[in-house]
């Protein structure tokens, strides 16, 4: 991405706001702490599971990872600054990485920086599919097939509707990288779906 493009972004990485915090008051009891955690963090439980499920691509793994991640989040609750959702999702994402590295070594492929070459490809030609014709299974399979670093930004953007700033915080990369990964993810997705649906492609070319 060019410096010009980077400076054009609406949000720059900025010091985190202090509107929410996990810091305890000195008198707080454990059960008060738990209640505050439940109120602030657990509303994002589904988001945590969704991310874990897409990153591990397996229900049982996602259950284990989410349970571990939430307990870890509780342990480090004092470290919460800013919004709870990206904070929790960052912990879930790291738990996924740790878990995959320990249990599914093949699953971590694609998380490392530069694991997939960012080759600039040509703009989509006129043969590009109309996305509204894609069915659910095609879309799901295509996303599941994306390298992890693209899959995670796509899920966080499209399914969790998070800003580039929040995604940058969760994936621990600069905002410019979020933008380029998202662009790459969408392009890979289009290519993958196109490859999976020669019939639709043929029909469109014929038009």
């Amino acid at each position: 991405m060019t410096p010009a493009a980077d400076s054009a972004l609406l949000h720059k990485a900025d010091p985190l706001s202090l509107q929410h915090t996990g810091s305890a008051t000195p008198q707080e009891t454990l059960s008060e702490r738990k209640r505050r955690f439940e109120k602030l963090v657990l509303p994002h439980f589904d988001a945590a599971y969704n991310l874990a499920r897409w990153l591990t691509r397996n229900d049982q793994d996602a259950r284990d990872v989410v349970q571990e991640a939430v307990l870890r989040a509780y342990r480090f609750f004092e470290g919460l600054r800013g919004e709870a959702k990206p904070w929790l999702l960052a912990i879930v994402r790291n738990s996924c990485l740790t878990w995959l590295a320990a249990n599914r070594p093949a699953g971590t492929v694609g998380f490392e920086e530069g694991a997939v070459e960012l080759v600039p490809s040509d703009e989509d030609g006129p043969e590009t599919l109309v996305a509204r014709n894609f069915d659910r299974r095609m879309i799901n399979d295509a996303i599941a097939g994306l390298p992890a670093q693209f899959r995670e930004v796509l899920i966080l953007r499209e399914l969790e509707d998070l800003s580039y700033k929040d995604i940058a915080r969760i994936a621990d990369v600069p905002i410019g990288t979020v933008m380029s990964r998202l662009a790459r993810a969408r392009r890979l997705l289009a290519e993958s779906v196109r490859a999976a649906s020669p019939a639709i492609a043929a029909a469109q070319v014929a038009k």
Binding site: A8, L30, D46, D59, T128, I143, R157, L159, S163, A183
Partner: protein
Amino acid sequence: MTNDEASSLLNAYIDGELGPAKTLELEAHLAENPPLRAACGRLREMSEAVRLKADYHAAPAGLEARVRAAIPADEKDRSARPVRWAWPKPGVSLAAAVDWLRPAASLAAVALVTWVVALGYLRPSEDERITQEVLASHVRATLTSRFFDVASSDQHTVKPWLSARLAFSPPVSDLSASDFDLIGGRLDYIGAQPVAVLVYKRRQHVIDVFVWPSEIRQSEQTETRDGFNVERFSRNGMSFWIVSDLNRDELADLGRLLAERSAAP
């Protein structure tokens, strides 16, 4: 704006992440560039397709409850947070430490004594609660004239009926020779467990005999409560509580008879 720059900004544009100045500039560029405009449209469609059609995996039922339960909230679980008070620092003299320990030790002693004494007092309250429960059961049966679930004077009918519905087999004796007529049996719930109730009759007095298995050996006791007499004892791992408005002597006779019959297996 060059074409390359414009196309590199398309994703930020459709995601609403482009600043206002760049947005205007890009829109002006798109207005003059139909192929780029088409690419932008396809990008939007792809984004929409993912939002509408990709699975959102909500957490499976019960998972959140399980995780909640796993979060420690017990004050005693110190591992979850730093301990906020400190032991006497090394710099503090030994005498100061002893001063600090003395009230703590006496407090502990008082707590121990209180606990032991409380045990002695609390123990009978279990009996008290059961007394109230068997009384309530007897009064309820009298008020509603619903004395039994199985009406029979035959012990060989009553006993299997109860045994089939309970986790134990209550001893049922035929005491008609002693003028205590078995008229039936029912089930009730006393002391947090299902129990058997044998119903006897002498003259016009209905007598409830509550029976359940119990490890606690109970000495014979009789007391009068609200005009009812309550007699209790234990035999062969069974607790017997007898409730009736029959006079104490006759009730004690029944108790003795039941104890004798239950003693011999």
